[in-house]
Symmetry: C2
């Protein structure tokens, strides 16, 4: 007989429809592929509510570990790693009770599926609050950082980064390299994205001659037909639909492009994005993220539209760069067995 | 005769209703207090659309600097610093054409109003893209970082951070110190927020005896009546309304508390937050941010409700810590004249 908690909001198993939590919603019980274990009480419930309210982020299992008197992070990871329904593992932890065992289990787990970690109590003050919260002991964060990286665990900087990384893994194939291409209406946003991509370990793709030739059919200005590809104002000649699909086709076919970020405007509703989004959906050869800036309502409409097609649409494109970088790190780890 | 651009989307002056941009929306022309200058073409237009679609973020002036052949960042900052309608200045820049002059102007400007900077082309790759975008020359980012900090300019990490920092300055008073208090339903979220606050230069407040006495009236568990104040499960005894208002009253009155982050759940709609939000609105003595986690729709409903009352409600509480840290840095700079 094993025990969870104390201080847990309970369990959710969408394969059987079991829940021991009063906090469960209907969406939370819809079977999905994401297994979550959290060393917390109420947080896991609220996080699962939030996650499962987003298309594609349905759960397999939800485990509230609470204060881990018996079942701890190792047991949870071992269980989720073996669980066939679970394709991605998410953990919120404040400490590691059995550090070495956890890393051994993680090394095997990350060969099979991505493990995303949100770690609380990084600072001394956070650890102090944690010790009264779940009775955690402080771990030097830099030591932990090295160890979890070696085990192939992907560390999330924030709840928001966690959500978008999940979206990336759930909806897009893994990148085969770390070279990104950017398509943009806005030089400024492309530059902010390049900065973030480079700081996250990605590189800008150099296009092959056939790609350049194809791009030049719709983008007559040579500097705008290189990476980042700047739609404006050349696309006035051929219109948005032909220009955007031609560019996307060229970039999807270029083996030197590992992932694509399409930055544009949410100015006239989502419909103009239909053809280029359909092309992305059909290809499924490399990760593609959209990011469309405009009024909040227009952005929301575009996000819903693309999300309905299973394509991630981030509010700001820098987020896409961070997500692609996590996905690329996972590809490398899975293939080489070492970071 | 002075010229803007080339490669500019034009100008907006909400005091006179003037716009030279085809990109302007009705909301963008509603008079407000935020002056924006951006070294970009289309980005400034899209950014202004997004900003002005949010309550409290209406514009005074919008200046598309484009490639800055004549009017540059110095002229723009000097103008916005002197403009009475403008209470906060926002700049997106890829380079500084006249670095020393810019810093001199900034030093005077930041005595009067906050200046928020989003800087593109931080990396060599970003700078390369920028040189074909607006013809910018690369500046070593670490050199720039020191100089802008000394001039009291607040550097934004992302568009999202910019938006929430604007919300903070527009709706809340400046903090008088760097000691924050956290009220929470969720130990885990409090801990993530403490980590971020400490890494941003904030500290946890120690409550005075009268505060502790008042908190103990609704929170019977001593460890939960200290900072962070944990509502659950003690509030079951007195109900959410009495518990939340009593705690807020105690924290608003404690002179050792400079700012408050209230972390809770968006589970049952925004109404339960009415009484505690009204208290915050009436007091206006220190910055208070709410962050309510739940399904996306519930979170949106809570945000709208609180935003309608002029109170910032961030999606995730770590953001509030970063915003308070920017506001505190500005207080210090304004008072001491040195960072």
């Amino acid at each position: 007989m094993r025990g969870f908690g104390p201080n847990t909001l309970g369990l959710v198993n969408t394969a059987t429809g079991l829940t021991t939590s009063y906090f469960a919603t209907k969406a939370m019980l819809k079977p999905g592929a994401i297994g979550v274990a959290a060393q917390s009480g109420i947080f896991v419930g609220a996080l699962l509510r939030y996650m499962s309210s987003m298309e594609g982020l349905e759960l397999s299992k939800g485990l509230g570990l609470g204060n881990k008197m018996d079942v701890n992070e190792c047991d949870a990871l071992e269980y989720l790693a073996r669980d066939d329904q679970t394709k991605i593992v998410v953990m919120y932890l404040e400490d590691l009770r059995e550090g070495r065992r956890f890393l051994d289990i993680a090394k095997r787990a990350t060969k099979e599926k991505p493990v995303l970690l949100l770690k609380g109590a990084r600072t001394a003050e956070g650890a102090r609050a944690s010790s009264s919260h779940t009775g955690s002991l402080a771990v030097e964060d830099s030591v932990l950082q090295g160890a979890i990286g070696q085990a192939g665990i992907l560390r999330m900087g924030s709840i928001e980064e966690l959500i978008w990384t999940l979206k990336g893994f759930r909806t897009m194939p893994l990148p085969k390299g770390n070279r990104i291409a950017i398509v943009t209406y806005s030089g400024a946003q492309a530059i902010l994205t390049i900065d973030e991509a480079v700081n996250s370990g990605l590189k800008m793709a150099t296009f092959l001659p056939p790609t350049l030739a194809k791009l030049s059919e719709v983008i007559a200005t040579p500097s705008k037909a290189s990476n980042p590809v700047d739609l404006f104002p050349d696309m006035m000649t051929h219109g948005f639909e032909r220009t955007s699909t031609k560019i996307m086709e060229a970039l999807l076919e270029d083996p030197g492009v590992s992932a694509i970020i399409f930055i544009s405007f949410a100015a006239t509703g989502p419909e103009p994005y239909g053809p280029v989004a359909s092309m992305v959906k059909e290809s499924a050869s490399k990760p593609v993220f959209f990011s469309l800036l405009g009024t909040r309502d227009d952005m929301e409409a575009c996000r819903s539209f693309l999300e309905g097609m299973g394509i991630p649409c981030v509010p700001f494109p820098e987020t896409a760069a961070r997500v692609i970088s996590h996905m690329w790190r996972y590809t490398t780890f899975k293939e080489q067995g070492e970071p």
